[in-house]
């Protein structure tokens, strides 16, 4: 559990990458987890080949939710929307490099949920 606050996670939390908003953006979506008060907004700019050329996230919440958003933004640079569709829970957990219980899993997955619903309108998000 001490691992949950690994240096890399705290670093992303304290110095988030790609933090802010894009105006204009091709895709903007936000969602929250009202139970704990985590909120994430993601803005994307995509090129003609549906590749992410710019991305940014903003929001508030716990270290896990904000760090996972920051890591995710780093990872999707230059990726196509098709590739983004294939991102799974495991990818996020690999980025974080930790194991999470059911409560904190929701914090970690919020950014991926926002990204997928925003990019693809994937409504059938697998919650757990």
């Amino acid at each position: 559990m001490e691992d949950m606050y690994r240096e890399v996670i705290l670093d992303h939390y304290k110095n988030p990458r790609f933090n802010g908003e894009l105006d204009p953006a091709d895709i903007t979506y936000q969602d929250d987890n009202p139970l704990c008060g985590d909120m994430i907004r993601i803005d994307l700019r995509i090129d003609d080949n549906n590749r992410v050329i710019e991305c940014a996230f903003s929001g508030q919440g716990c270290a896990i939710s904000q760090a996972s958003a920051s890591m995710l933004m780093e990872d999707i640079q230059g990726k196509s929307l098709e590739e983004i569709k294939d991102y799974t829970r495991e990818d996020i957990l690999d980025m974080l490099g930790i194991e999470l219980g059911p409560v904190r899993l929701k914090c970690a997955m919020l950014s991926l949920k926002v990204l997928k619903v925003g990019a693809y309108g994937v409504q059938e998000w697998i919650e757990d």
Binding site: M1, Y5, G61, I64, C107
Partner: protein, 410 residues
Amino acid sequence: MTIRFDANEIKRDFPALQRMVNEDVPLVYLDTTATSQKPKKVLECLSYYYSNSNANVHRGIHTLAEEATAGYESARTKIGEFISAPSAKEIIYTRNTTEAINLVANSWGRANLRSGDRIVLTEMEHHSNLVPWQMLAASIGLEIDIIPVDDNGCLDLEVYEKHLDKNPKAVCVTHMSNVLGTLNPIKEMATQAHEHGAVIVVDAAQSVPHMPVDVQDLGVDFVAFSAHKMCGPTGVGVLWGRYELLDGMPPFLGGGDMIKRVYLRDFDTNELPYKFEAGTPAIGEAIAMGAAVDYLKGVGMENVWEHEQDIVSYAMERLEEIPGLTVYGPEAEKRGGVTAFTLDGVHPHDISQILDVDGIAVRAGHHCAMPLHERYSLVATARASFYLYNSYDDVDKLIKGLYKVKQVFG
């Protein structure tokens, strides 16, 4: 400060408080506001009941049924005495506080309120004393007036008076806030409500477990509380109501036990309290709630209250020493053993998670009081709450843990 009893001595009565977390760290349980731990006597009572007397209550002739019924009814008497109810017939077993309030809203509310009537709620209510009334209001067309929380974390009683001038039919208020710890002046509020012809419904989930509560002295109409927050098991709670009110109300749930006689197309309602107890109740749990009452009476509710006052004063003093930490709600003298706080730059989830490494259990979130958090422009707080088994040492461990949180996020 006066120490009426030794919290560490009390702690030995609670098996869960002996356990380790994260292999070898002793548990520091500071989440009683969510649910209390259970003393050995209550656990033994449950186990004894299910091992020896398990049978359905009422209408049984055999030995086990008689034992079960006697235990179930004698617990009712004990609980009635515990809150100074005039009669045990006014003690209605429910599943919990929430169900008790739903019972009042649906039975008393539907029988006595009409479209356009007003009810008064407060900004500091737990969702359990908001949502049942919101549902009723939407269903029959009630107007809702809200008593706001002032900057000191207390109800704005001037606004309450203004709401009363509009002649509401009901005032629904918590005795003690589960977030701010604020102890509301229920006795005065009840007198004022009655002067305006309103009925007063009190959520006592956080007061009955922690202080002497005398429903007659308070002069209220309905009081709801849960066993699991007062050393008892989950699954059982109580609605107390004034006899005349309960007697005039239609049943809430229909089924076995709540009837006197059933015909194919009709039924006659049973008398109090059975009228409101449809179906097989949580028998063992009700009996164990009686054991929890015995346990608390043994310690003495005055002693419990004084001890918690000492602990919460000390906790607030120590918490406020921590740079960047904000405690919400009134000064210690006006609150029970609850402290909700935030720490600059650290989300409450992270506070709770890091404290857990040292075995310290605090809750993080909105604590089922979203409108109250909104009032403070917060999405979440961390909450440490105290009970008879918490010591000064527990507070010291919390403070040490919070400095560690600051270090991690520094």
